[in-house]
């Protein structure tokens, strides 16, 4: 075969070696093909086109069906304390501006998801506020700074430190360190270190709402520039002059708790406190008061002076010259009550006028309240701001006398009345640095930003009340390239120790040595960190309160309309304005969201010619203190005649995407008188109606309860004392054999609850309406934020709402039928207020359960009406048939949807870290509602089961009940005879199962016999005349 050279040929041409053939022999196609021509030339040829088209189609289709990459990375080495699915709790402290709260942070798999009150700390009484609850979402705010900033550009910490140190060192003039009140001992120590290096630093503290007047008055009277700590729980009579201690005044979680304690009633406690309030805007305190007078802001001094005179006459003390007041009846009554409860009463004022606060001191002294309801020895450190210093700073800044400014976690360009001149003056400073965690109104004007951590990423300590300490510990490592401000101060002072060690060292030298219980510092530290709190008897000399000299100068009366500023319970001072949970939390009084507005009286609306429609009003032009804004007007019952109210905290321009453009900024309208911040403008205010229509979104538009005794049942204290069931309505059903209680007439056989039967009590007497529960519920249950437009469509998603009703005693009139009904819809000018938290009532005969065609909502063996989201097809029949209207429908897809950018907890990757992994994020088209926090119930049961025991009362509680500062909500097992709920309801076995013996307890809408598991306790007002 080797030599066998066989030749194979394709055709004759090859055999004959035709030159024409040879030429194309190596080509694929021997003949001429036009395609080859094109490939020689430039541009795209057919093949390229096909290739590109093929690639294009493949790429497009690949992109279209791109599967989201979801990485779940298991622990290679599991951290010791982290068990997937098991939450860890860390005691910590919420610190924001001048506000604080002792808290416990719940973390799951290393991320903080929920905040609870710290029951071990006496500082905030174990309660929380809405802002504290919401702060966990602020941690996951994508708009926080991700890197330090130098001259407008992101930089590294080393570069920043170098620049700051060289700049600060080179400044010869004054360096101002502007902050809110600082009451963290270790922060103060760190600042001392900084001051030691740069001796030209001067600290200037301010508070958004100043307490300078009170501080000065106290300094004069007691020689100590401090705010006393208050104990409302010891007070039988409380008189508040525009001090919204249940809302935003000083330490509302604690004050709520103390106040609620005096409002609890039961078979063994038939006495409660009486609260008088004299105020211009209807505040939470005013709405919880037994007697409320709507007064002009300029009249406050006169009222207090008259009260002083009344008491001074009784005590035989010198009187002052006081002007006339309008509502002297309530004032005389208050004076009598105060005098009767000497030593157990309290008078507070929100005034920032030194002489007025001096009078208040004198009144409390006349009443012997120092040492009982007021304690100067345990002073409240949380408000130290000095107005005059701040005003001088602004002057110096503009005069060019300040060469450097350090803004320590504050934003005065926005939240100070002189913000604009601070912004202008900053140009004259040679160097400015801010530790703000976002590029806010102030930080956007400075040379360098050293972004601080969120408090949940920080170590810190605080001494909000003298001798009472609280610790902050990080619950997550830094999300961004941020550094704690105190660490920055240490770095700039040349100290390389970590702030954590610094605090520890500081505590070792101070608190550890001041106690004797523990001898080992590490043990002491661990215990303090575990508890989050440490208390030590004050070593300072006790202050003896003697005679207080009265130096009251009556002020000129106001003229014309008076503008009164207030902080509401949701957005507060505006520092957390970028938090959508707070923006969508209804204002406890107006029930409006996503806006501020001018609250005006009905009479003023009529004078202006304003007739608002359903959430529709008009813009008004408000001019005060030389500033003008156009803002919607909202009729507010209880607004003092001749006054208008305006909330601070809105109108951010650099607050973030959520905050910007919501409402108008009221801070620039605040004026200063004799160097003191004035929370009211009492002259030169004009309000003009414009033609522009505006819609204010409210979650509740009907303001009265239409005299429906099946909804709100209330009585006065004297009636209650005579008959514990006063105010109760007992509907009866007529049957063929006479009248029957609704519970005895039923189609249903009822459910058997062999193990647990969960229930809740809502004490309308201690609920102050603060709204902490609503935000707690939102955080716990992954409730979406829907934005203003959807609230205008009446589609807010909150599972828990607080209904706010106005009522008043009707004078006998001839009205009947239709006219009467129409009149009932209109609240009085100075109404009584009732707050009624409403969540799913978990009916035992649930009307929603019977109507669902697919049984997606059904009853558990523990009395909980449960929702199977997966099964729901969204007919909304259940919501229609719910007499309490607590069911919420997913009208749209609220998660992963660009249509709802406000819903940051579901629409960006960082925000989603706040979601509770134990609760499903609901899909579009399904119904949802309060579940009685079934995930918490389940967790508690499982924990108990693991330990082979029954759950102990109190270890299982709903998110709302645990957040409530006033313990108005009590959750528990009604099958457990020793549970708090069983005892409060005084449950006894009867013919039809458990019977409730507590006279105040009622089910809402008892006559339709849906048998709710939520019990309301009647509202009792401490009033003399009946109010039926």
């Amino acid at each position: 075969m080797k030599n066998n050279k066989k030749q194979y040929w394709k055709g004759l041409e090859e055999l004959t070696k035709n030159p024409e053939f040879e030429k194309y022999a190596d080509k694929e196609f021997a003949e001429y093909l036009p395609i080859n021509d094109e490939s020689e030339g430039e541009g795209t040829n057919r093949r390229d086109f096909l290739k590109m088209m093929g690639f294009g189609i493949a790429a497009a289709s690949l992109a279209a069906c791109e599967a989201p990459v979801r990485k779940a990375i298991p622990y290679l080495n599991k951290p010791v304390d982290v068990d997937p699915g098991v939450p860890n709790y860390y005691a910590s402290t919420y610190l924001n501006g001048s506000d604080f709260c002792s808290i416990v942070v719940k973390t799951r798999e290393g991320r903080p998801i929920k905040i609870e009150g710290n029951k071990l700390s006496s500082l905030s009484g174990g309660g929380t506020s809405a802002q504290v609850q919401a702060s966990v979402l602020s941690l996951y705010d994508k708009e926080r700074l991700e890197d330090p900033v130098l001259d407008g550009k992101a930089t590294t910490w080393d570069a920043l430190d170098k620049a700051v140190i060289s700049k600060l060192g080179s400044l010869s003039g004054k360096i101002a360190l502007v902050s809110n009140s600082i009451y963290s001992p270790s922060t103060a120590a760190a600042l001392d270190a900084l001051k030691a290096k740069y001796s030209n630093i001067e600290e200037i503290a301010y508070d958004q709402v100043s307490f300078s007047g009170m501080l000065n008055a106290n300094e004069k009277a007691f020689g100590k520039r401090a705010i006393p700590s208050y104990d409302f729980s010891k007070a039988k009579t409380i008189v508040s002059f525009d001090a919204d201690f249940l809302g935003e005044w000083l330490n509302s979680p604690l004050f709520n708790k103390q106040f609620a304690k005096t409002r609890k009633l039961g078979p063994n406690k038939k006495e409660m406190s009486r609260l008088y309030s004299f105020e211009s805007n209807l505040s939470l305190t005013g709405s919880n008061s037994d007697y409320r007078s709507a007064i002009k802001a300029s009249q406050q001094g006169a009222y207090i002076a008259n009260l002083y005179n009344d008491l001074a006459k009784k005590a035989g003390a010198p009187t002052v010259s006081a002007g006339k007041v309008g509502d002297s009846a309530n004032l005389t009554k208050a004076a009598n009550d105060l005098w009767k409860s000497k030593g157990q009463s309290l008078v507070v004022s929100g005034s920032n006028d030194e002489s007025v606060q001096g009078l208040v001191n004198a009144i409390n002294n006349l009443l012997g309240n120092y040492g009982s309801t007021l304690d100067l020895n345990a002073a409240n450190n949380t408000r130290k701001g000095d107005d005059s210093k701040m005003v001088n700073f602004v002057k110096d800044l503009n005069a060019g006398n300040v060469s450097g400014v350090i803004f320590f976690n504050c934003n005065p360009v926005y939240d100070h009345a002189l913000g604009k001149s601070i912004a202008d003056g900053l140009k004259k400073a040679k160097f400015s640095v801010s530790t703000s965690s976002r590029k806010d109104e102030t930080a956007s004007l400075v040379n360098a930003i050293a972004p601080d951590n969120h408090f949940l990423e920080s170590w810190n300590d605080a001494e909000p009340t003298e001798g009472k300490f609280t610790l902050t510990q990080p619950t997550i490592s830094n999300l961004f390239n941020t550094r704690q401000a105190q660490q920055s101060f240490l770095a700039w002072s040349g100290d390389q120790t970590s702030y954590f060690d610094f605090i520890k060292e500081n505590w070792k030298n101070t608190n550890f040595t001041n106690q004797t219980k523990e001898t080992n510092f590490d043990k002491f530290w661990d215990q303090c960190l575990h508890d989050g709190a440490f208390e030590v008897a004050s070593s300072a000399e006790a202050i003896e309160v003697g005679e207080i000299a009265v130096d009251y100068k009556a002020r000129a009366a106001g003229s014309g309309i008076e503008l009164v500023f207030y902080k509401n319970n949701s957005v507060g001072d505006g520092s957390q304005a970028n938090n959508p949970w707070l923006q969508e939390m209804p204002d406890p009084i107006t029930k409006a969201v996503w806006d501020n507005y001018l609250t005006i009286s009905r009479k003023m609306a009529a004078d202006l010619g304003l007739t608002p429609g359903d959430m529709t009003t008009k813009l008004v032009k408000l001019t005060a203190n030389g500033q003008s804004i156009t803002i919607p007007a909202l009729i507010q019952p209880g607004q003092a005649q001749g006054t208008v109210g305006l909330a601070l905290g809105y109108g951010r321009s650099n607050g973030g995407k959520v905050a910007n453009g919501v409402g108008q900024n009221a801070y620039p309208m605040i004026s200063y008188k004799n160097g003191f911040q004035e929370m009211a403008v009492t002259s030169g205010v004009t309000v003009e109606l414009t033609d522009e229509t505006y819609r204010v979104a409210q979650t509740q538009t009907h303001e009265t309860y239409m005299d429906r005794s099946n909804v709100v049942q209330e009585a006065t204290l004297s009636e209650y004392k005579k008959d514990a069931s006063a105010g109760r309505a007992f509907p009866m059903i007529s049957t063929y054999h006479g009248k029957e209680k609704p519970g005895n007439v039923s189609l249903w056989e009822g459910h058997k609850y062999p193990n647990h039967h969960w229930g809740m009590i809502v004490d309308m007497n201690s609920c102050t309406g603060c709204g902490a529960c609503t935000v707690s519920c939102q955080a716990e249950n992954n409730v979406p934020v829907v934005g203003k437009a959807e609230v205008l469509n009446r589609r807010e998603m909150t599972w828990l709402r607080i209904d706010r009703y106005y009522s008043h005693t009707e004078e006998a009139d001839e009205l009947s039928g239709l006219d009467k009904l129409k009149k009932m819809e209109v609240p009085a000018d100075n109404p009584e207020v009732t707050f009624q938290p409403m969540m799913c009532q978990q009916c035992n005969n649930a009307p929603c359960e019977t109507v669902c065609p697919v049984a997606a909502t059904n009853h558990s063996t523990e009395g909980i009406n449960q929702m199977a989201y997966n099964r729901c097809i969204g007919t909304r029949y259940c919501a229609n048939n719910c007499p309490y209207k607590v069911r919420r429908f997913n009208w749209f897809k609220y998660h992963d949807n660009r249509q709802f950018p406000e819903n940051t907890s579901m629409n960006n990757d960082l925000g989603k870290m706040v979601l509770n992994p134990d609760v499903t994020v609901r899909a579009r088209g399904v119904m949802e509602k309060c579940s009685f926090c079934v995930q918490r119930v389940q967790y508690g049961k499982l924990e108990a089961k693991k330990e082979g025991r029954r759950p102990v009362d109190g270890e299982i509680t709903s998110a709302c009940a645990s957040a409530c500062p006033s313990e108005a909500l009590v959750f528990g097992d009604m099958k457990d005879p020793n549970s708090r709920i069983s005892k409060m309801l005084r449950l006894e076995d009867g013919e039809n199962g458990l019977e409730v013996k507590e006279e105040r307890a009622y089910n809402m809408l008892e006559e339709i016999n849906v048998k709710p598991n939520v019990w309301y306790l009647t509202k009792i007002r401490n009033k003399e005349e009946s109010n039926a």
């Binding site: 909804v711 109507v851 007919t875």
Partner: protein, 455 residues
Amino acid sequence: MHAESVVRQPLVTGGKTVHDITNDICGRVEEKPAKSWMLAMALSLSLLAIGGYYVYRLLWHGIGEWGLNKTVGWAWDITNFVWWVGIGHAGTLISAILLLFRQRWRMAINRAAEAMTIFAVICAAMFPILHMGRPWLGAYWALPLPNTFGSLWVNFNSPLLWDVFAISTYFSVSLVFWYIGLIPDFASIRDRATTTVRKAVYGALSFGWDGASKTWSRYETVALVLAGLATPLVLSVHTIVSFDFATSVIPGWHTTIFPPYFVAGAIFSGFAMVLTLLLVTRKVYKLEDYITVQHIELMNIVIIVTGSIVGVAYITEFFIASYSGVEAEQYAFINRAFGPYWWAYASMMTCNVISPQLFWFKSIRTNIASTFVISIIVNIGMWFERFVIIVTSLHRDYIPSSWAMFYPKAADIGVYLFSFGFFFTAFFLFAKFFPVINMAEVKSIVKATSEKTDK
């Protein structure tokens, strides 16, 4: 004494012969579509397209496209549903109950009325599906289908489930009844067909009808059996629809008067809709000899009777509310008449109670134009009746804090238009391609009553 019965008015006028009938009716199917038909069809299709856009938006974005809210969970959707179901009552009533009562005047109108029923029920059925948050699941989860999801089963307590059964039974019986009636007429068209396509299509549609005596006998037996089956359905469907409301706890819904009141209302609106459509068809197809003024007058009498029943029911509701002593119930009714939706209530009262009373005047009830106008007014009124029941009861029920207004959005109107688009498209297709009058039945009365044969 000797009594002689009055000579009955002929039911078919114009001296029609059997052959005339075939020509008149089949001719409409066989001839080229008229310009007016093309125009009407174009309008219907554009309605369908515009509505279709909103249906798309609704399905793509969610129920939030409608104006519903936390307080008012149903509004236009269920209003439209009940309204269309009501309209869908007349067909079966005319065919079944009037057949059993041997009312032969029904023969000229039953075909169109039944067709209208079928289409109206389809329109009605759209809404329960479209109104669901998750129709892609709900459309079959609401049926008691054996499944692999475990022990999941429908909730037989729920009136919505009863609706599913009521509507589907009614729809299937009506469809079968209607179709069986069509078979001999399809056969006539088939037999007259000149083109192969027509022959094939109508041949298939007529199921091989051979016109034998035995076939006719079976046909009539089936018709009678189906009429017997359909009769209780006329009463049951709207009774069950009314249970959606009557079994609830909502004041204004929770009332025992609903079943008869809903049935009367359904017949009322159904007859009105039949009149609206027939008056147009009669004019366009020149069927004046078949659908005579007598027909119109008789139907108008039914409208007076049912309209008056409905009116009495409205007043009774008020009486019961006041008599009950239930505060929420009393308020619900006062609010209905004098609250923010007073205009809806006033429209309902004017359209449903006052306007049909005009039919007491013979000149009005025998006048084509006035009948046409009033028939439309009645249907507007009946739409408002459902709106009033649903929205004004929900928007202010027990807890005043949740009281809210309902404002419709574009999609509310759009989806309603979609149902109209579908209804008219289907009806015009029917009018063109199906015999609009039951020829077979009408022929049975022509001999006895037609003038020509008398001569």
